[in-house]
């Protein structure tokens, strides 16, 4: 009887932490989406809201950290239960970083909201952000369902994000070389592109954590690159 009580108390406390991760995820997804929208539409008001929202994520991360430590101390979980708790600490740290990167994009959006830049750069940033958001959505969905089968293909997409970032980087450099007056806004855009690329990396980290939580094993290392032909695979 007593053990049932302990088990359900642990489950309840774990459910609180897991639920909080979901909330952080939703918040982080929204910050990334809104910050890029603010950047592309030069919407300083929206950008300021994003900056303000970052506090919520910082707070949630601290809360998850406190609860997780208390949980380990009091319930001394083992095996998958322990991995769940440690996983929550790691994922919340990644999501907090994603929020920081979103906030940084928003700050830069405010800084350059007066300058205009070419449509093609905006399109490039948008499609980069779309990939990163898709990556984030897929890992968070996988966290919800506990389904690890699709985690491996996320590496492909991360590679795609990197390639697209490299391409944008070159385009931005050319753009700045041709318009010396645009170096300030160009540099801000460059950091924004880098931030989005980093968001993709954090999503990949989360994917690896989920895999570890669910299976107890590390995800297989990256596939060797046999073929160096430049190529890309476009998925939905």
């Amino acid at each position: 009887m007593n053990s049932v009580h302990i088990v359900s108390a642990f489950d309840g406390e774990l459910a609180y932490v897991v639920n909080k991760i979901g909330a952080m995820g939703g918040q982080a997804e929204r910050m990334v989406e809104q910050s890029v929208r603010a950047l592309v539409n030069a919407d300083a008001a929206l950008a300021r809201r994003v900056v303000a929202d970052d506090l919520l994520l910082d707070e949630a991360e601290r809360d998850i950290g406190d609860k997780a430590i208390a949980l380990i101390g009091r319930r001394q979980p083992l095996a998958q239960d322990l991995r769940q708790v440690i996983g929550a600490i790691r994922i919340s740290a990644d999501l907090e970083r994603v929020g920081d990167l979103g906030k940084n994009i928003a700050k830069r959006a405010i800084a350059i909201s007066g300058a205009s830049h070419p449509v093609s750069l905006n399109r490039g940033l948008e499609s980069l952000a779309e990939l990163a958001l898709l990556q984030l959505k897929d890992v968070l969905d996988a966290y919800a369902s506990g389904d690890v089968t699709k985690l491996a293909q996320m590496r492909d997409r991360d590679e795609q994000i990197d390639l697209m970032y490299t391409s944008l980087f070159r385009q931005l450099l050319t753009f700045m070389m041709e318009n010396a007056r645009m170096i300030t806004s160009g540099t801000h855009l460059l950091f924004c592109a880098k931030n989005i690329e980093r968001i993709g990396d954090h999503a990949t980290n989360i994917a690896e954590t989920i895999y570890y939580v669910q299976t107890g094993q590390q995800m297989a290392p990256d596939r060797p690159q046999g073929d160096l032909t430049p190529s890309i695979v476009i998925r939905k």
């Binding site: 979901g22 997804e29 499609s127 369902s145 430049p230 476009i234």
Partner: protein
């Protein structure tokens, strides 16, 4: 007479005393209907969840729209948007909550009006999603269309206007210049017409992001039909098109007109940008997990840094030596869009000056 008139009235059109009596005697049959069988009849996604926020049941429409929603899934882990969370938390706290808008950006932009309430006495709750994507998409499409059309049509239009001015003024009496300018103007007019066609088909595709029905399409037949229409263009560019088609059947689920456009755009591009290679290969290869359709050319190829972005709208590869710009910048965007609707994958590989291949990988039929 009265009987004959009564026979004209369809059953159920008029309440009969017998029906009312039956309902009074045996109770209202809808009272005994289960919530899930009722939800199954609805075309809007409906999700039931318990007081701890776990999914209990979801109807077919919800599965189609949001993917697997197994019982026991944490509702708020799947629907993480702060607005939905606020709604659900209000409901679980026992309060009534106003409907909210839920917007999904990726993989397709979708918008729902979400309302929820408590149902029954067993601590069960329900969320109902009303799809508003169509309305939103029409708005966006209109804005996008205007922005794109005005931006992209300005260049050719300015060039035509410039030539008209020249023809009226300095080149008024110069027949050689006139012929040359008219040629250019015709090209530009043609380009504008193609641009409008492409913008319209892209807009149409975006309006309807999902395919309806499970029509079957034979890829070999499509390739033959495309080659028939492209014959003159291939001859003009002096490119030889080889086909490598398997003996067996290569049928996929899809829309014939859309796949025709995919094959046409890919072959056209290969002939246009790979014409110096003199040869284009169109192949179908059955794979363990579906079918590959590929178009390969042997032209200058695409520099590595452009490959990731080549399917973006109006993205242009500035080739060295200033390649003649013939495209609208939308062809591959259309291809990507159509393939995404078919759950197909597009992969692009290019080794400059060796070979460039576009492959569409279609999933198996079942």
């Amino acid at each position: 007479m009265l009987d004959r008139l009564r026979a004209l009235i369809p059953p159920g059109a008029v309440a009969t005393p017998e029906a009312a009596r039956t309902i009074r005697r045996e109770g209202n049959p809808t009272e005994r209907l289960s919530a899930s069988s009722f939800a199954a009849a609805l075309s809007d996604p409906v999700i039931f969840f318990d007081k701890d926020g776990f999914v209990v049941d979801a109807n077919r429409a919800a599965h189609d729209m949001f993917g697997k929603l197994d019982a026991g899934l944490g509702l708020l882990l799947k629907f993480r948007a702060p607005d939905i969370r606020g709604l659900v938390e209000q409901l679980l706290a026992g309060n009534a909550a106003p409907a909210i808008d839920y917007i999904e950006r990726v993989p397709l932009e979708r918008m729902f009006r979400v309302s929820g309430s408590r149902v029954g006495e067993d601590g069960l709750f329900v969320l109902i999603f009303k799809d508003q994507s169509e309305v939103r998409r029409i708005d966006r499409m209109r804005a996008d269309f205007i922005a794109n059309a005005s931006h992209e049509l300005r260049t050719p239009l300015a060039s035509v206007a410039g030539f008209i001015e020249t023809l009226r003024g300095p080149a008024k009496d110069d027949p050689k210049a006139r012929a040359q300018f008219l040629d250019i103007m015709q090209n530009q007019a043609g380009r504008m017409a193609r641009l409008l066609d492409d913008l319209l088909s892209l807009s149409r595709l975006e309006m309807k992001p999902r395919l309806d029905g499970g029509a079957r399409v034979e890829l070999k037949e499509i390739i033959r039909a495309v080659l028939d229409t492209l014959g003159p263009m291939a001859a003009e560019t002096k490119v030889v098109i080889d086909t490598r088609l398997p003996e067996g059947d290569a049928t996929v689920i899809g829309d014939r007109d859309e796949l025709f456009q995919v094959v046409q755009n890919l072959i056209e591009n290969a002939c246009k940008y790979g014409r110096s290679g003199g040869r284009v290969i169109v192949a179908i290869e059955p794979q363990a997990d579906g079918v590959d359709l590929s178009v390969t050319d042997f032209g200058p190829g695409i520099p590595a840094e452009h490959i990731p972005r080549i399917t973006e709208r109006f993205y242009r590869v500035e080739a060295e030596g200033g390649r003649v710009e013939k495209g609208t910048g939308l062809g591959l965007a259309i291809v990507k869009h159509i393939l995404a609707r078919h759950n197909a994958r597009l992969s692009i590989t290019s080794q400059p000056n060796v070979e460039t291949r576009f492959t569409a990988h279609f999933p198996p039929m079942e």
